[in-house]
């Protein structure tokens, strides 16, 4: 019997001016399967799926839906063919209600007017059928992230989608929410839906997918049944070489001393307590992992330690000395290195060259500047050294930072901080949006720094990362540390439960 394919994309090529995002890609998905489209950032996964969804037109190639050749000029056409896409950045309209968001484009009417009651009913119906809990009359801006994602799925189902594309759906979810999402996906599969999951996470692929396709640099390099492959094989296919997942945790032998201390810190925003008498101890030769669901005060901990926000109460001590009232630049001088959470907002000035970015925050040091005049020769020499040392892939150090990939941009930020011999490193989301190869590199660098006796605070949304690197883990929930212990005493589920406030 002939296998039924929901989607067949044949010889798809998509170019953007002079870069090729997809190069003669052949991609097919069987009816009723969960298919994982795996690849690193920039491999062309999203481009391929946006082509399928009619947001891009391919330069070459053909698309078949359920065996029929189709020209998908726009999303409206894709929707009419039963395709729905849940984008990585949600396509929701914040000030409108959940129900309004769902029915947009296909609104129920009563006479000439919009029928909100009908919209609400429809949403409730779908949400009950598939276990997608959302309050239809809540405004989207008041919904938590998980609910927004459920809403996006409901949106697709409301449009009678049979083929559901999800772009990195778990990037914003906690482990428990991921489990819920997978439950929903399995239910959808039972109902006969075809699901395409764009991801770069191997674990998820192995857990939920039936088949896997790996994209690398715009071409398909591998397709397999899940049962016939392994995470190691997939990683090798994604990166193009063997990757080691293991980071050796060498405990540092010499005595650990407290370097940076946050004591009973309080901070509120709009009269809401964000930090509630929070205390942390960061010790030399140790990585302290701060685990928590985003928005529970991690950002404020970082900002308080680096001097970006003032504390209402509490104090910060660096090697026993009070630095609570020092300005950010003085704290940098005192030895607090900061790898910011948001690379593009706080880590880099994208329009500046690599060498300028490499000295930001340290530009007043006598190596780089004399009486307010920059020493360009020294800076260039320094930048070239860091570039080699940190393996930043670029033609020269005068290139704009914006021209680099996420991984290489992050290497600039990390190179800048680590090269200045800080006493403490505050590493916030150090591997966010970088590819596996660079993650491996950054992890090893952090380990090196730890072994060199630095005190490191690691804040990450990726639990795996926290568990892999940390010696000790502290769990933050609603502005308080709810648990703190040796890393070995936690597992993923215990952490997940603590992070969401359940004991």
């Amino acid at each position: 019997m002939k296998v039924l394919y929901s989607v067949e994309m044949k010889n798809i090529t998509k170019r953007f001016s002079d870069t090729v995002a997809n190069d003669s890609v052949n991609f097919s998905v069987k009816k009723g399967e969960i298919h994982s489209l795996l690849g690193e950032n920039g491999a062309g996964k999203t481009t391929l799926m946006k082509t399928l969804y009619g947001m891009y037109q391919p330069n070459e190639g053909e698309i078949f839906i359920n065996g029929h050749k189709e020209k998908i000029e726009n999303p409206a056409k894709a929707i009419s063919l039963g395709i729905a896409m849940v984008h990585q950045h949600f396509m929701l309209v914040e000030p409108l209600t959940a129900a309004e968001n769902v029915v947009l484009g296909y609104e129920p009417k009563k006479g000439m007017f919009f029928n909100l009651d009908k919209a609400r009913e429809e949403v409730t119906q779908i949400s009950e059928k598939y276990g997608l809990k959302v309050d239809p009359l809540e405004k989207v801006e008041d919904l938590p992230v998980g609910a927004k994602q459920r809403l996006e799925i409901i949106k697709g189902l409301y449009r009678k989608a049979d083929i559901l594309i999800l772009d990195e759906p778990t990037a914003v979810l906690t482990p428990l929410e991921v489990e819920d999402l997978f439950k929903v996906l399995r239910k959808l599969k039972e109902a006969g839906k075809t699901i395409i999951l764009i991801t770069h996470k191997l674990k998820e692929t192995m857990e939920i997918a039936d088949r896997v396709t790996v994209l690398r640099s715009g071409t398909i390099v591998y397709t397999a049944e899940k049962t016939e492959t392994s995470p190691e094989k997939l990683a090798e296919m994604m990166v193009g070489r063997k990757v080691s997942f293991e980071v050796k945790k060498n405990p540092v032998e010499h005595e650990k001393k407290t370097v940076l201390e946050l004591k009973k810190a309080c901070y509120s925003k709009n009269k809401v307590k964000i930090l509630n008498e929070l205390s942390l101890n960061i010790k030399s030769g140790e990585i302290l992992g701060l685990a928590g669901v985003e928005g529970n005060g991690q950002t404020e901990v970082i900002e308080a330690l680096t001097g970006l926000i003032p504390l209402e109460k509490g104090e910060i001590l660096l090697q026993g000395e009070r630095i609570t009232d020092l300005s950010p630049i003085k704290r940098i001088k005192a030895g607090i290195g900061h790898i910011p959470e948001d690379r593009n907002k706080r880590g880099l000035v994208e329009d500046f060259s690599i060498k300028e970015n490499l000295i930001l925050g340290y530009h007043r040091k006598s190596d780089f500047c004399r009486k307010g005049i920059l020493k360009n020769n020294n800076i260039a020499k320094f930048a070239s050294k860091i570039r080699t040392q940190f393996n930043i892939k670029t033609v020269d150090v005068d290139t704009e930072a914006a021209a680099l990939s996420g991984g290489n941009q992050q290497k600039i930020v990390i190179g800048r901080v680590l090269s200045q011999e800080p006493k403490v490193i505050i590493a916030a989301q150090p591997t966010r949006g970088v590819d596996i190869g660079a993650i491996e590199y950054i992890h090893n660098k952090l380990m090196e720094m730890k072994e060199a006796g630095k005190a490191i605070l690691l804040i990450s949304a990726e639990l795996d990362e926290i568990m892999k690197l940390s010696d000790r883990i502290a769990v933050i929930y609603e502005g308080q540390i709810v648990a703190e212990d040796e890393a070995d005493n936690f597992d993923e589920y215990k952490l997940g439960a603590l992070m969401t406030g359940s004991k």
Partner: protein, 310 residues
């Protein structure tokens, strides 16, 4: 004494209303435009075009109502320029609006010279006059305010109510509000973003032009050079004050009209005229400074939307 006070208040309110009419039309237009993410500082020029076309149409045909039709067409054409530049060619919204204003001022001045041989003003044409509705003209106090008022006033009330219904109760309105907030989302749902943007920009031109026409054929029945005199910008402020809502925009226009008419009254007292004249603008600035805190405009206002970009 009491009736004197009553009459004074009535006349103050009546003149507030008259001043508010043209501003409110343009403010409605501005709301539609900004709600689809297009900033329109060309309101001023579109009003001017409407004021001119109204007089011209009335001059040619002898009918003020046909003049109004001319105004509508002129407003639509000028708005079309803005729409094509900002939506099709992604020109900066401010630059394009500025261009519309300058084009309108230049063109109407030249045409004044060509048609009436006068660079300052046209000759007097047939106007819309005023109407008094049967019941209202017998209600005390109210009769002093709107007992005898331009038909533009009733047109405005209609426009405000219909705009509100369209924006908040119809599918089209829902889509309009979505586009200004998140055009990418609208696009991924198969909504034709460009089409709705074009419709709204042109609608804004038409509404502004009707407001402009009130100044000429609804009030003094001649066209004067640059007779809009900044009302287009005041209308933008009224829209923001009103939270991009037609009812609010109407309210904002009334407030400005009131300040303006109060200012005229104040001139009889012994304070320098210049200070009195500043009042409406000072009020505008104060009101915006105070009210803007809680008012959040359309998130995608002033940004270009290009398909496929996220």
């Amino acid at each position: 004494m009491e009736t004197d006070m009553g009459a004074l208040i009535a006349s103050l309110l009546a003149s507030s209303l008259r001043i508010a009419i043209p501003i409110a039309f343009a403010a409605l237009g501005s709301a539609f435009c900004e709600l689809v993410g297009i900033v329109n500082i060309g309101l001023e020029g579109m009003m001017l075009a409407g004021a001119f076309a109204g007089v011209w149409g009335s001059y040619i045909t002898g009918s003020a109502y046909l003049g109004l039709l001319f105004a509508v067409i002129a407003g639509a054409l000028f708005a079309l320029i803005h729409a094509v530049l900002t939506i099709r060619y992604k020109t900066d919204h401010i630059i394009s609006g500025l261009g519309v204003n300058m084009l309108s001022l230049g063109l109407t001045t030249v045409l004044l010279q060509v048609i009436w041989g006068n660079r300052g003003k046209s000759c007097e044409v047939a106007g819309m006059g005023s109407i008094s509705l049967p019941i209202i003209k017998d209600i005390p106090f109210l009769q002093d305010i709107i007992g005898n008022i331009s038909p533009f006033f009733y047109l405005l009330l209609l426009a405000v109510v219909i705009s509100w219904l369209v924006l908040y109760k119809t599918v089209f309105g829902l889509r309009v509000r979505v586009i200004g907030e998140n055009p990418q989302a609208a696009d991924t749902l198969g909504i034709d973003v460009y089409k709705i943007q074009f419709i709204c920009v042109i609608l804004s031109g038409i509404l502004s032009a009707v407001g402009g026409a009130y100044l000429s054929i609804g009030d003094i029945n001649i066209f004067g050079r640059d007779m809009v005199a900044g009302r287009g910008f005041i209308a933008m402020a009224a829209t923001i004050f009103g939270g991009w809502n037609p009812l609010g925009a109407f309210g904002g226009s009334l407030l400005f009209g009131f300040a303006q008419s109060l200012q005229i009254r104040l001139q009889v007292f012994n304070i320098p005229v210049q200070f009195a004249q500043m009042l409406p603008y000072v009020i505008t600035i104060l009101v915006l400074a105070i009210s803007n805190k809680n008012n959040k405009g359309p998130a995608a206002s002033g940004k270009h939307f290009k398909r496929g970009e996220v």
